[in-house]
Symmetry: C2
Subunit: 340 residues, 2 copies
DNA sequence: TTGTACGCGTTATCAC
DNA sequence: GTGATAACGCGTACAA
């Protein structure tokens, strides 16, 4: 086994001092050409690489950024992550990921572990439980300690930091408007329970569009599903048995796919009888039958921006106490489920 | 901004030595109760936490593990990653992810960066390009340096290290056999080009089952698609126009979903006229229409095992030169696309 | 041109 | 019971 080689090894072997080796490897002008060549050759031969940890300790910069997301097996987060990773790598940063699993405790623990010197800053999206608890002390402490933080997608205005999010309200507004302009009158909304800011925003956009076109809001057409996994339940079946609708706006893909299956089994045609629009534009939208019109979130872009914001803060000498909030526009990707 | 507090700060503030502080915080017997209490109180008040980097430098152990995967926006890898993350976190390790993006160069670069002290070991799945190049020197060097390595899913027998993989051949065999027992005679195989060991194994299982039941292998029924993205092409359309089949085994979900759409549009019924079985059992299988029978890979389990193997090696004092290869059985998840 | 000394934050050993 | 010192690996200001 080849032992990891250090400056000390080289110095001892070549009978020079450690600092000479250090300088020689940086091609310092101070060192004679002879010595430099000798040292560089030796270093190359034994494949010397400086130890990252030592450098981190010295520089008080790790070149690592911590990413905490609620779930890794989730297309959207995964997409954002890719954006983060790409940008960060290009700038010479590594990414340490922790998954909060939608749990407040895990979020806090993960943060504490990484905050003790392992990373230069954080990019994160709040866990469901954190949003429920409405407790952001762990984030506030981070900010107080001067550790840069960027929140994305699931953010809170209780913490002063950079943020990047999607204009969900506008996306929903435009999706609803599109349905209306397509001649749809009875537009249902399938949402999650509304402690999640996101679902809220989307509902608002829906309301706004209806209002604008003087369509009365009918609460019977709004179905609130407890959680994504609840698709196994029969709420949707019941809904469609009792309500007559000609379009459905769903706050995520799964609801849309599931809804489409139910109405298809009931004999309705999509989009002729009922149109569907979903959110997130993940893999399901692309491959469902019919394919699903969807409000795209541009996760990768979001990740890139988040990483850019973070690294800017990390690398800025003086602490800038100005925080930005970048809002990305969503885009409607039209597919079969809404073609009139 | 609260500065990060160190032993030195505390020592200076309380007018004791650094070592006293260190010992007191470890509750050492050597220190008097008074001093300990005073120091511990102060540390608690200012929320002292030891600096991970310094500890890493001292211990020559980072408690980080490096994960290099070809693609993060991919359900299977994501699932494996979850398994790794769970196990690793439970053991007090963080996970640093790098994405090779199916590129040999990126794989090498990522490895080199992390190998310089940032991680205690690696878990990885080979990039397509690496498999094509058939060049594993970067991995061999790692092993020579004594850095633990675990390969999963896309492995090679050219490197001596721990491995964990799925019995793909057996999965394909059982899937094909199932189709045969369901009375299917003309079973097509949709595969990727065969430099990827995986697609190969799956094809072999298919051949084996056919042979066992004395069904002649008809090369016209084997469709090799250049890559996953090639679904946009028309190869499948052409195929179904020219070939009469009653079942299709696909080496991934996308091919299956796409194939099902095509035959449905042609007026065939699934599973009555044509059965489909896919590989990987991701989100598409569950939500497709009809739902897709699929060979499940147990990615999460795979991740856990990989992490367990790695951490065992990392924590073992003496270098064990014995490498394990764990083979997981795949499971067929039956859904609508094969119900007779 | 080369070497010495110090500091990053921690812990372990040994001396007082 | 407490403190000084060395060490982990590196970089650099300063001395020779």
């Amino acid at each position: 086994m080849k032992q990891k080689i250090t400056l000390k090894h080289i110095a001892r072997e070549l009978e020079v001092s450690i600092s000479t080796v250090s300088k020689a490897l940086k091609n310092s002008e101070e060192i004679s050409r002879d010595t430099k060549e000798k040292i560089q050759a030796y270093a190359k031969l034994y494949n010397y690489k400086p130890n990252n940890i030592a450098i981190s300790l010295k520089n008080k910069r790790t070149k690592n950024i911590g990413v905490i997301i609620p779930d890794i097996v989730h297309h959207f987060f995964t997409t954002v992550f890719r954006g983060i990773e790409k940008y960060a790598n290009a700038k010479g940063y590594n990414v340490i990921v922790c998954v909060s699993d939608e749990s407040f405790d895990k979020e806090v623990i993960n943060m504490e572990i990484l905050a003790n010197g392992s990373v230069d800053g954080f990019i994160m999206s709040l866990s469901t439980e954190t949003q429920l608890n409405n407790d952001y002390n762990h984030l506030k402490e981070l900010v107080e300690q001067g550790i840069p933080l960027v929140l994305f997608d699931r953010v809170t205005n209780k913490v002063a930091c950079d943020k990047v999010l999607i204009d969900d309200k506008d996306g929903a507004y435009r999706a609803t408007k599109k349905l209306i302009l397509n001649g749809r009158k009875k537009i249902a909304l399938f949402a999650t329970e509304d402690y999640l800011s996101i679902s809220n925003d989307r509902s608002e956009g829906y309301f706004q569009a209806l209002k604008e076109f003087n369509i009365e809001i009918n609460n019977d057409l709004i179905l609130k599903l407890p959680s994504i996994s609840s698709v196994e339940g029969t709420e949707m079946n019941t809904f469609f048995e009792h309500q007559q609708v000609d379009a459905v706006l769903c706050v995520n893909e799964i609801y849309a796919i599931h809804g489409m299956r139910i109405v298809q089994k009931m004999g309705y045609k999509i989009p002729e009888d009922i149109s569907f629009i979903g959110f997130t534009d993940g893999i399901l939208s692309k491959f469902s039958n019919p394919t699903l019109t969807s409000v795209a979130q541009h996760g990768e872009k979001m990740g890139e921006i988040a990483a850019e914001m973070l690294i800017e803060k990390v690398e800025s000498e003086d602490e800038i106490e100005v925080y930005r909030t970048e809002v990305l526009e969503s885009t409607i990707v039209e597919r079969e489920s809404t073609q009139n």
